[in-house]
Symmetry: C2
Amino acid sequence: MKTVLAEIITIGDEILYGQIVDTNSAWMGTELAKIGIRVKQITSVSDEAGHIVEALDSAKTRADIILMTGGLGPTKDDLTKDVLADYFHTELKLDEQSLADVTTLFKNRGFELTELNRQQAFLPASCKPVRNVLGTAPGMWFEDAGKVYVSMPGVPYEMKRMMTDIVLPQLKAYFNPPSIIHKVIQTVGIPESMLAERLDEWETSLPPHIKLAYLPHLGGVRLRLTGIAEQAGQLEKELETEVNKLSALVPKHIFAYGEVPLEEALGQLLKERSLTISVAESCTGGYIAHRFTSVPGSSAYFLGGVVAYDNKVKMQVLGVKPETLQQHGAVSEATVLEMAQNIRHKLGTDIGVATSGIAGPDGGTPDKPVGTIWIAYADQHGAKAKLLQYNKNRQLNIEYTALAVLNLVRQSLNIAVDE
Amino acid sequence: MKTVLAEIITIGDEILYGQIVDTNSAWMGTELAKIGIRVKQITSVSDEAGHIVEALDSAKTRADIILMTGGLGPTKDDLTKDVLADYFHTELKLDEQSLADVTTLFKNRGFELTELNRQQAFLPASCKPVRNVLGTAPGMWFEDAGKVYVSMPGVPYEMKRMMTDIVLPQLKAYFNPPSIIHKVIQTVGIPESMLAERLDEWETSLPPHIKLAYLPHLGGVRLRLTGIAEQAGQLEKELETEVNKLSALVPKHIFAYGEVPLEEALGQLLKERSLTISVAESCTGGYIAHRFTSVPGSSAYFLGGVVAYDNKVKMQVLGVKPETLQQHGAVSEATVLEMAQNIRHKLGTDIGVATSGIAGPDGGTPDKPVGTIWIAYADQHGAKAKLLQYNKNRQLNIEYTALAVLNLVRQSLNIAVDE
């Protein structure tokens, strides 16, 4: 069984200088894996002809497929097309379909076609053009010595559309790759090393074509089982057996199977139990509401919330008592409990949650340093609050607090409690 | 003048499979650029000893500094430490400081030190350990044939802390690099090709040590001028002169200088004019509030908001008239105008904005397909609404709508109007 290997080359100084995070490659890796193609290496190179050629020469020693993104724009720093024409000893010629596409695109946007954009319709003679219905730069598909080279724009939505509509189906037809299947198991409340000790014996017993990986992240440890085989059906069954064995070893730490974010797992549970939820946010400033509403269909259980950044809003909209704010301050157990209970009543939901804290980087006091955050949960049985103490990083504080609130709801609903 | 070049090697199948987006490299590129070190290439390789060695061999032909992340965890798929010990012909020995650190860390977390974690304190004898105060895996600093190799954990906050506290200062001292300065100019409302035509003559006249790059993204086109020189002071002046020339060519399309997000530029302007703002969100579900409150100090102008996901919340909390919802529906000009006006009154702010639409992927009707979104802006002079029509991608719809609202506020405040 031959594994079909791909390499991704991203072209552009902006990635090297850190001015753009390369999200394209992760998306491509995921989509390629779905059709059984494994990404062997991702290489990000600068906007220099020599460097692009070096990366191509290196990639073709390892991979069957070389996918390039970037460097196709209309400006002087975009070199990919010229480099590829040279690399495959061919010349640029006008592609009528591409010219028609770019002319239409400009017309629809209410602009006249510029000379620079007209030049984008000139492509290397030996390539098959890959149509770009969302932007001005067509892609290019080359075949050489049994390998396939595809060049696409770096603009994520243009690249994704091109991959989905054209490149992935063509690669599947061309290479007929074996099956790679991933199973993701998501855990919380147990550190990586402890998890590893518990899984050690089972992991050692895995057959050679199935591998386990530990992927720790902010909210827990994701486990990924990867199998490769000729027959997808047989492999699927083998993986299911292994997932069952794994599940039996850490039953109470698993909150989801598959790439399901915590808010989605939580949403599923709320929906199953016909429960509704609302949020009253101070320091998280709408982020928890955003997490809930990122999930399609969340309107079934998430009714709404109040972002009470200012104390006036806490009093006038949420009905927090002025005495509470005066006696205890906005960042206090008493305030956050009132917020959770009041939002629950005001919006008529089964559950209400709330946050109030000092997200930072400034605004702390000796008593309540930056990173002091209260969260609360309220339902028909009552309300409870929890004090968190984080650091000075505003974004992390918002992120951790949202996670802690989602976890508090999860624990309260007994999705998974610590063993 | 010798440019000091670095390469980044990220180790781990999770990046190749697309299960993690590599945000580390962008951060490292930015931080290295600040001290005058240029990233020449970023390479992501698999958890295979041979592949890691191949990447090291290749990187050292191009770069002075090789920075590695990942593969330092306590589990079987973490190979970096063993590979490096072999690569530099040395053996693992216990590092007492690292053992003390990991023991303390576990104690603070309330866990007992496991054997797997104890093994993390064994390091190649020829390396200088790089202390990790936030996690269990110490970093490693090797010097070989005038080149520096640093291995760090892949966990972003651990790597960042290590880089900031130890690695960056040591690299600066070791290589004494020339100055690289970036200037970012952010534009909106003009397509890349038109911008390029307007800047063409000036761009051609740039001296060879100053380069221009176009970085188009969701919200506009970022321009980046990059200069490299021995003397930072002189280069800074040259770049300022060029930025002034550029600004004169597209004066009304620039909304910020530097890596300032639109919400921060907007916040600055609101603060300068002593204006306050509130938001009433339906389809954006708290995301606009989140964007505003991501900016430190935003409590000076952002007072709060209501996430009115359910129609009951639109009526009971925001006071939208039942007749309006009955006659026009939630996704309508009439509803969104009431939402913007009412949130402004309810929270007593100078400006109120609102969104109501069908974010998708489901929930559309023939009349109002998925992606139909109304946004509104209200101030003392009145209110205006705008209809947006996007596609079926929920995340993009939320993102684009937030951007459109921020833009609507920007335009209303005349930060930059189209020429």
